[in-house]
């Protein structure tokens, strides 16, 4: 495990909120027609981490979700499968079983999700269990309490430790931007996660409002882009929480396309964390194919 860095390493350029939001709003006006729209929607499905993170989750529910992730629209072969299914650690085994033989990854939240208010040994143990059960992606939460009290080294050390516990599994670092509040904080949290070796920057747990927003994701993409240009290492971005419509998804894709470019336009480096988004994307794809909107009941509720 790397040693703690000196606080100066966590310095980041300031962020101007007004100009950042202006740029995000400007990109949100892009008009996507015809093929570009269809291609974007299919890509959005392929980038989706289909998620269920409820106290009432059960093996049955997870198996349903896995089916949906593998074949979102069984009658249409041109609709891709999702990138991953995201569950709590105790349901990883069920998901692994259900997804065997498919390309869909199993992601597990860990480290005392969503609040992260537990000791480090417990957090690491949770990661190890999830990895041992077959999770190939781990979504950790950062210690917001440590971050907001200025103990950046502690946040950094913990991400390093979790990364080590992940082994070969990909590590997504959830910043919970809705609790960090300012863009300056978010930019600094990105820096910490990037230095600590996170494979993905992720906006939110989905348990805090606001979750993902366009300006926040734009900022994270800029951080990932600059890190790549400095070090040559690509780090992905995952927009999670609050993304419900096809229009939203396309707007996020425009941010990726015009900020980071082609290298990130793949499920390997950009993800959507969502539960209700998929059916809206399917609704739009079917509308385009048939020329009319289908009834909501024509799509499976999982």
């Amino acid at each position: 495990m790397p040693h703690s860095l000196s606080p100066v390493e966590f310095r980041v350029p300031p962020v101007c909120a007004v100009a950042l939001e202006t740029r995000a709003a400007d990109l949100a006006t892009r008009s996507l027609k015809k093929q570009a729209k269809l291609q974007g929607l299919r890509l959005a499905i392929a980038m989706m981490d289909l998620t269920t993170l409820e106290g009432m989750d059960s093996p049955g529910k997870v198996r349903q979700l896995c089916q949906k992730a593998m074949r979102p629209l069984p009658q249409r072969s041109d609709v891709p499968s999702c990138a991953a299914v995201c569950v709590y650690p105790d349901l990883v085994e069920t998901a692994v079983e259900a997804l065997r033989g498919s390309t869909v990854q199993v992601a597990s939240v860990a480290t005392g999700f969503p609040a992260g208010r537990t000791d480090r040994a417990t957090k690491l143990r949770e990661v190890q269990l999830a990895v041992a059960a077959g999770a190939t992606e781990i979504d950790m939460v950062i210690d917001r309490g440590a971050f907001l009290s200025g103990r950046y080294g502690k946040v950094y050390d913990e991400i390093c430790a979790v990364k080590e516990a992940c082994g070969a599994a990909h590590l997504k670092v959830i910043l919970e931007t809705g609790e960090l509040k300012t863009y300056d904080n978010i930019r600094r949290a990105c820096r910490i996660a990037l230095l600590a070796g996170g494979d993905f920057l992720k906006t939110s747990t989905g348990k805090v409002t606001p979750a993902s927003t366009l300006p926040v994701v734009l900022l994270m993409l800029e951080a990932a882009r600059d890190h790549y240009l400095e070090t040559g290492r690509i780090v992905g971005v995952k927009a999670a929480g609050g993304i419900r419509t096809s229009k939203d998804a396309l707007r996020y894709l425009v941010l990726v396309n015009e900020t980071c470019g082609d290298l990130w336009m793949t499920p390997q480096w950009f993800r959507f964390g969502a539960s209700s988004l998929l059916n809206d994307v399917l609704l739009q794809l079917e509308k385009d194919r048939t020329g009319r909107y289908q009834r909501p009941v024509d799509f499976s509720a999982d």
């Binding site: 300031p14 101007c16 892009r30 974007g40």
Partner: protein, 502 residues
């Protein structure tokens, strides 16, 4: 995709790749909802009148060079008729209550918004600027100017306590081609709110939206002769500003023509406001929000193809961040989508005219010849029409023509500074003084700089933001007088002594 990245990593410097995965389909705005007449007459005394010259000239779409329509060429007699029509309308209009004048202005603003899409399309076709800008900036701001001044029409006495504001009379107004509708609104709205009548001449190459605005005046029931719009060339403008029936001349355009107008107006005892050229300094300090400053600089110089009098055409960046900033700026410039102005995804449209394109080319050639380093984004430009790619010069000296003369195009000159004092000195080392921009995270430094900048408008951590309530105008060869806000209205009233309170 990741393999691509790894390959690049192996071969050396990592670089971003764009445009190979997801291309946007064309998204052209429809033009079926409105028509352009084959010919437009002069709008005088509330009616369309054929010019006494019997002559017409074509106005074209700069993106395709196709003619859109032809408009009347007003001669001296037409100018005289227009001024007389305004003089005839003045007594009744100026005696109308402020409340009633405000009612007309509100009506104009509302109709303009109802017909916003049509105005945006027409402006884009006639001017070459992208539909994104006409839709989101030009038309909404034009309407805002009418709304704003409608609100003041019945409250003029509150603006000038203890004095009695009186209208001046007939105002001659000459406007440029870079914001045809918006400039018409800037000029007409305050003049009418204060009780004046107007003869306005739009630019020769972009007359269509001002002419369509006459339809809005008719629709709003504005009394005949309150606003008269005459089209023509430089001679028409010259005849208008020389007309003895005017009480004031308001001009927006080049410094060269501004000086001619000032000579023409001298000694006549009438009012004059001039809003002329600029060579704005855009300051970026090392502690600035760099990524957002890049956005601000892009907005500053590439907005409206750089055809903006307050364009941030001189970038002064602190030497310690120069290389990083220029690198980021060049990457960002490559993302600017240049092409069909009617496409909703176009960021930069066509250069307005062949003459302007020639002027831009001349100055860029002078920059290259002078030894500055030219960088242009590698975008594909349409074959027909007038086009110029987003361009920036590094290694620019303060003595270069590109650092001193107004290019009025998408060309940025990058200079450096070491200390705040040097930044101020260089920023003010120009014959112009219209606007300036400052990017720094330090509040105290913003105030220190703003006090010292010889510019009418200073934007802090933003650029090219306009509001009807905010006065706009310049120093030195950028002109005098303010437009917008309370200060703008002051230029359209005579202050009689009036009664002292109590």
């Amino acid at each position: 995709m990741a393999k691509n990245g790894e390959k690049q990593q192996a071969t050396g410097t990592p670089e971003l790749v764009f445009g190979g995965v997801w291309k946007y389909d064309p998204a052209p705005e429809s033009t079926e909802h409105f028509t352009i007449a084959p010919r437009y007459e002069l709008f005088v005394g509330g009616e369309w009148k054929a010019p006494k010259t019997g002559k017409y000239f074509a106005t074209i779409d700069p993106a395709t060079e196709k003619p859109l329509s032809e408009v009347a060429l007003a001669g001296d007699k037409d100018v005289d008729a227009a001024v007389k029509a305004a003089q005839k309308a003045f007594p009744a209009w100026s005696k109308l209550s402020g409340e009633d004048r405000g009612r007309y202005l509100f009506r104009i603003a509302r109709i303009l918004l109802e017909r916003a899409r049509e105005f945006a399309c027409l402006e884009t076709l006639d001017n070459g600027k992208p539909i994104k800008e006409t839709r989101d900036v030009d038309v909404p701001l034009a309407a805002q100017h009418f709304f704003y001044h409608a609100g003041w029409a019945d409250k003029l006495d509150l603006l000038f306590p203890g004095q009695t504001p009186e209208p001046l009379g007939v105002i001659g107004q000459v406007i440029p081609w870079n914001f045809p509708l918006l400039m018409a609104a800037w000029k007409i709205a305050p003049a009418l709110a204060a009780g004046n009548c107007v003869v306005l001449k739009p630019a020769e190459t972009s007359p269509l939206t001002a002419l369509r605005l006459c339809e809005v005046f008719q629709q709003a029931g504005l009394p005949a002769g309150v606003v008269n719009i005459i089209t023509g060339d430089g001679k028409t403008g010259a005849a208008l500003v020389r007309h003895p029936g005017l009480a004031k001349v308001a001009f927006t355009g080049s410094t060269e023509v501004g000086k001619e107008i000032q000579r023409a107006v001298a000694g006549r005892g009438i009012e004059l406001t001039l809003e002329l050229g600029g060579k704005a300094a855009h300051l970026v300090f090392e502690d600035a929000a760099i990524d957002q400053a890049v956005e601000g600089v892009v907005r500053g110089i590439f907005f409206n193809q750089g055809h903006v009098c307050c364009a941030g055409s001189r970038l002064l960046v602190q030497e310690s961040v120069h290389d990083l900033f220029v690198q980021k700026l060049q990457r960002r410039m490559a993302r600017i989508r240049v092409g069909n102005p009617m496409d909703k995804n176009t960021d930069m449209g066509a250069i307005h005219s062949a003459a302007q394109l020639a002027r831009i080319r001349e100055l860029v050639a002078a920059g290259v010849e002078g030894g500055a380093n030219l960088h242009q984004s590698a975008c594909e430009l349409p074959k027909k029409g007038f086009w110029f790619p987003p361009s920036l010069f590094t290694e620019v000296a303060m003595s270069h023509r590109i650092a001193r003369e107004e290019v009025f195009g998408p060309v940025l000159a990058v200079l450096t500074f070491r200390t705040p004092e040097e930044a101020v000195e260089k920023a003010n080392n120009t014959s112009y003084g219209l606007s300036a921009g400052i990017w720094t995270d330090k509040g105290a430094r913003i105030l220190w700089l703003a006090e010292r900048m010889k510019a009418g408008v200073v934007w802090n951590n933003t650029y090219n933001r306009f509001d009807a309530a905010s006065p706009f105008g310049g120093y030195k060869e950028s002109g005098f007088g303010r437009e917008g806000g309370r200060q703008g209205l002051r230029a359209y009233v005579r202050l009689a002594g009036g009664l002292l309170p109590g």
